[in-house]
């Protein structure tokens, strides 16, 4: 099967029209020594019925579990309408809207998306998506180097309280262009970046300061003070935010006296399933003055030959297909379908629904943390305020506890030991609006069991 519709008669007529004897003759320009006869290593075909059985068995093997892991990907309710609409073939099987007149649906949707994201982050302009939150941080760092004309250093300050995977991706993607990512420590008591950590950079040329709100621990940074510190030293501020949190938390455009300069983050909480890590989408918004330094597609509203409003890709002189080696980024294909889902999701949520979601997720996490820390030997690791995610400290190693919980069908959180060994036995936990009081009780009771078993072992 190859979804090839040709009949024998078709093939014969086509070969005759071309003027060759066989399909094989069409490959005459390939040097014979390079040809292969069969693709060894690829199995025989399955028909759709066989395929359905195989995939269903594999999915069942993975099962469904009660998940209290966050760490950059969050289980939220997704209305059925979101993916029923997003998987319509007219969205799903179109490509980048190069032919604007035949792509007004995708283009208008992207314009609506840009409007929503700009407002959510309190910035002026948005692009049409990047790959994910981590790669968006890399792109934002590169953009900051282009946008900050007062800085020559290419030095980017990144708190250790930024997700470790984001920091690694930023180095892997942007490091080859000479950017230096310098890490700022966090305070032992709050898990947040103290202004004192910045003192040694007081008189130095810094291109940008990255601020994650909330940070990887769920902690709330002092965004106003950090933003003003950076701006006073002519550094740009790159904000990394959770879009759901912005229903409650101050948007980056309002941080400090002048607001953040570039805002990025992981769009997954806006209607995208967890899916083992992707596809998600990275978002990016900025001030109008920096729009020509922004990577990725941008849609603008204009008029047609009759003066009627319509939408088109714009500012394409920034992009690789025009500017080639001097483009703002090499990005071409982005995460369009994920943005389609997010725009539908944001429409269904509205400001009130998003606010309720954020508040309920936060309330469930507080209940979870209260329940878990009621157990002996379980405490909050940090003391400061958090948003819908928190770190708990255990008096036994985390890994065997998590394994014992998993055997009971509970995914208990993310073990921070690998990336933050200085925290000892620390576990990042998260509940969202999808968790009930009964779910939280089930986790608490299972944890009590596991801890008892670990201590007696």
């Amino acid at each position: 099967m190859a979804f090839v519709p040709h009949t024998r008669a078709d093939v014969a007529a086509m070969l005759e029209s071309i003027g060759v004897e066989s399909i094989e003759a069409l490959f005459e320009e390939i040097p014979a020594a390079l040809r292969i006869s069969a693709l060894e290593g690829v199995p025989e075909a399955l028909n759709e019925m066989q395929l359905a059985r195989l995939m269903s068995a594999r999915a069942q093997r993975d099962g469904r579990h009660l998940c209290f892991i966050g760490a950059g990907a969050y289980e939220h309710h997704i209305p059925a309408a979101v993916w029923a609409l997003a998987t319509r073939g007219e969205f799903y099987s179109a490509y980048t809207p190069y032919q604007a007149e035949a792509s007004q649906g995708t283009l208008q949707l992207l314009y609506e998306y840009q409007t929503m994201m700009a407002s959510l982050t309190a910035m002026e302009v948005s692009n049409a998506s990047l790959y994910d939150g981590a790669s968006a941080l890399a792109e934002a760092s590169l953009m900051a180097v282009r946008a900050n004309r007062r800085s020559r250093s290419k030095r980017i300050l990144v708190p250790c309280s930024v997700h470790p995977h984001y920091r690694r991706a930023a180095v892997a993607i942007a490091g080859n262009q000479g950017l230096a990512f310098e890490e700022l420590p966090f305070a032992d008591d709050t898990g947040c970046t103290p202004v004192a950590a910045l003192q040694r950079y007081e008189r130095e040329d810094i291109t940008a300061l990255v601020i994650a709100q909330p940070n990887v621990f769920g902690g709330l940074e002092d965004v106003d003070t950090l933003t003003d510190w950076a701006h006073a030293r002519h550094a740009l501020v790159v904000a990394v935010v959770n879009p759901v949190s912005l229903a409650l938390l101050k948007p980056p455009g309002h941080w400090g006296a002048k607001g953040a300069d570039i805002v990025v983050g992981e769009g997954q909480p806006l209607g995208i399933p967890l899916s083992s890590g992707g596809p998600y989408f990275g978002f990016m918004t900025t001030r109008l003055e920096h729009v020509r330094q922004m990577p990725g597609r941008i849609v603008g509203r204009t008029v047609d030959a009759d003066g009627r409003a319509g939408f088109t890709l714009t500012l394409q002189a920034r992009e690789q297909h025009i500017r080639r080696g001097k483009a703002t980024s090499n990005i071409c294909t982005n995460q369009g379908l994920m943005v389609t889902a997010a725009t539908i999701h944001l429409s269904l949520m509205g400001a009130e629904g998003l606010r309720r979601t954020a508040a309920a997720a936060h309330a469930r996490t507080r209940e979870l943390v209260a329940a878990l820390t009621s157990l002996p030997g379980v405490r909050r690791q940090f003391s400061g305020p958090v948003f819908h995610e928190d770190v708990i400290g255990l008096d036994v190693p985390v890994a065997p506890v998590l394994q014992a919980l998993a055997e009971r069908g509970i995914q208990g959180g993310w073990d921070l030991h690998r990336h933050y060994p200085q925290l000892g036995s620390a576990l990042l936990v998260c509940a969202t609006e999808t968790k009930t009081a009964a779910d939280i009780t089930r986790y608490r009771d299972a944890l009590a069991d596991c801890l008892r078993a670990t201590r007696t072992a």
């Binding site: 040709h6 309408a81 007219e90 099987s93 649906g105 083992s276 090499n330």
Partner: protein, 495 residues
């Protein structure tokens, strides 16, 4: 504003918004102020964001109507060259979206993901087989990120050997724009080499361009001209002899699937566009996936994570297992949902189906080329065999009739045909790059050929009707200059 609705257009979602309305059934119950009282006031939002307040039905109707303003593979022939717009089988979507796959957290234990990991492992194995490479990483999230990974591995390879002088990447002048943009992202200097009159890389110019600074070459084969690079063995020899490596851009792998493998041609590293060759949906711009495959000497540098099998258990290898890795390109493990769709497609095609892909993609392209040539269009390379795509040039029509490639592209929309890629590659003036793909029937190709012939006749008799096209789309030709000068990038409410 007119009372009558313009049925060709759809209002903005914000035009439907009425304060107090909303899809309340989708929202959690209010939590009360006490639930968020611990959030410091100074860190809280004061004004709600500008999101629409609309019902569920209004939302469904709005986005359904928007979708209907699009051309897509499911609705129209879509011969967008270089993009491989083939049919996306519905099964690939349905079985990649099984609830267990969707619900799995990326940091969930590997023991609770053996099903998905087994699929990914087998996908790596199949990609090794079709590319002729020794090891694969699935993590790059699009072709351009696959390119980045490939070129970054070449850099890491030279550096690990202490070969620090190499800082040039060679790119043919016909290369896709992502190639030089990627080389820049890797910190390389880009050196372009010309192609000859028949579309092959100018081997003498290449030999003169390589040297001790050459890190490698980025090459697409078949090239963006829709031609198989006939002297690929010589190209490989020249670059290898100079100490450089060969990177294969998989944009055009569809043409040669089951016929010849990049590994056998001498390439050291490849990326594959799963959204092209392996038919994962293009999604209105993405997501894609750009897995990379490498020869053994580059395996230590693969981006992480990579799926491994140990004692019949599947697990992720990370930086700890691959200390020389170029690192992590995404927060988690790339576009897993896209990878599953490609896996399903490959299992449904199987070994024989894949060989058919190359056969019929090539048959369709050559047939359409023959028909268009007979209808009076000029092939850019008339003495060459087309691969899975081909270029016609409208240089003659532009000169004689004042009708450009873009005009023909726009007029095709009126015929219900999505336009081919226009003005790429930049080397060929007034060009259309046409890629029909193997899933189109002869009848669909005939319809396209007839439309093209009619447009050519129209261009001679009534050229202004072509130059003012399209006439039947939701909008007429859009003012791109105004779009870029009077920036209107977000909707703003009336003050």
């Amino acid at each position: 504003m007119s009372i009558e609705r313009d049925n060709r257009l759809e209002p903005l979602i914000f035009d439907y918004s009425v304060p107090g309305r909303g899809a309340e059934d989708q929202w959690p119950a209010p939590s009360g102020d006490a639930a968020v009282a611990d959030l410091p006031a100074a860190l809280c939002r004061e004004q709600p964001p500008l999101l629409p307040a609309v019902s569920e039905l209004e939302t469904v109707r709005h986005f359904t109507r928007l979708s209907q303003l699009n051309f897509a593979i499911d609705t129209n022939f879509y011969p967008l060259g270089s993009c491989t717009m083939k049919y996306n089988p519905k099964a690939c979507n349905q079985y990649a979206m099984l609830p267990e796959f969707l619900a799995r957290h990326p940091l969930a234990p590997e023991a609770q993901g053996q099903g998905v990991l087994e699929c990914l492992f087998e996908l790596q194995e199949m990609l090794k087989a079709v590319t002729g490479m020794q090891a694969v990483s699935l993590t790059p999230m699009a072709g351009a990120q696959g390119e980045f990974a490939g070129v970054a591995m070449i850099r890491a390879y030279h550096r690990a050997r202490g070969d620090l002088e190499r800082n040039e990447i060679i790119v043919p002048e016909t290369a896709h724009g992502t190639n030089p943009a990627t080389a820049t992202m890797c910190g390389w200097v880009v050196r372009e080499v010309p192609v000859d009159a028949e579309g092959d890389v100018d081997v003498a110019a290449l030999a003169a361009a390589v040297g001790p600074k050459t890190a490698g070459i980025m090459l697409t084969n078949p090239s963006t001209l829709g031609l198989f690079e006939r002297r690929i063995e010589a190209v490989a020899r020249i670059v290898h002899d100079a100490g450089g490596l060969l990177y294969y851009d998989g944009a055009n792998l569809n043409a040669i699937l089951g016929k010849v493998r990049p590994g056998d041609m001498g390439f050291d590293v490849v990326h594959v566009n799963l959204h092209k060759t392996f038919s994962t949906p293009h999604g209105g711009g993405g997501p894609g996936a750009g897995p990379v495959g490498v020869a053994a000497r580059l395996a230590p540098f693969l981006p992480v994570p990579v799926v491994a099998r140990r004692d019949d258990r599947y697990c992720w290898l990370t930086e700890d297992d691959l200390p020389q890795s170029i690192g992590r390109l995404s927060a988690f493990c790339g576009n897993v949902g896209v990878l599953l769709r490609a896996y399903i497609y490959m299992r449904m095609l199987g070994r024989d189906g894949m060989a058919k892909v190359g056969d019929y993609a090539t048959l369709n392209a050559n047939y359409l080329l023959a028909r268009l040539t007979r209808a009076g269009f000029d092939a850019a390379y008339p003495r060459r065999r087309a691969s899975h795509e081909f270029i016609i040039t409208l240089k003659r029509q532009a000169r004689d009739l004042g009708v450009s490639a873009m005009d023909v592209a726009k007029r095709l929309l009126d015929h219900g045909q999505h336009a081919p890629t226009t003005y790429f590659p930049l080397l060929v003036p007034e060009c259309l790059l046409i890629e029909p793909t193997e899933t189109e029937s002869k009848a669909a190709l005939d319809t396209f050929a007839v439309a093209m012939a009619q447009i050519l006749a129209e261009a001679a008799q009534e050229p202004e009707h072509v130059t003012s096209a399209p006439h039947t789309m939701p909008v007429r030709r859009l003012d791109d200059v105004r779009a870029a000068k009077q920036l209107d990038l977000t909707w703003k409410p009336a003050p």
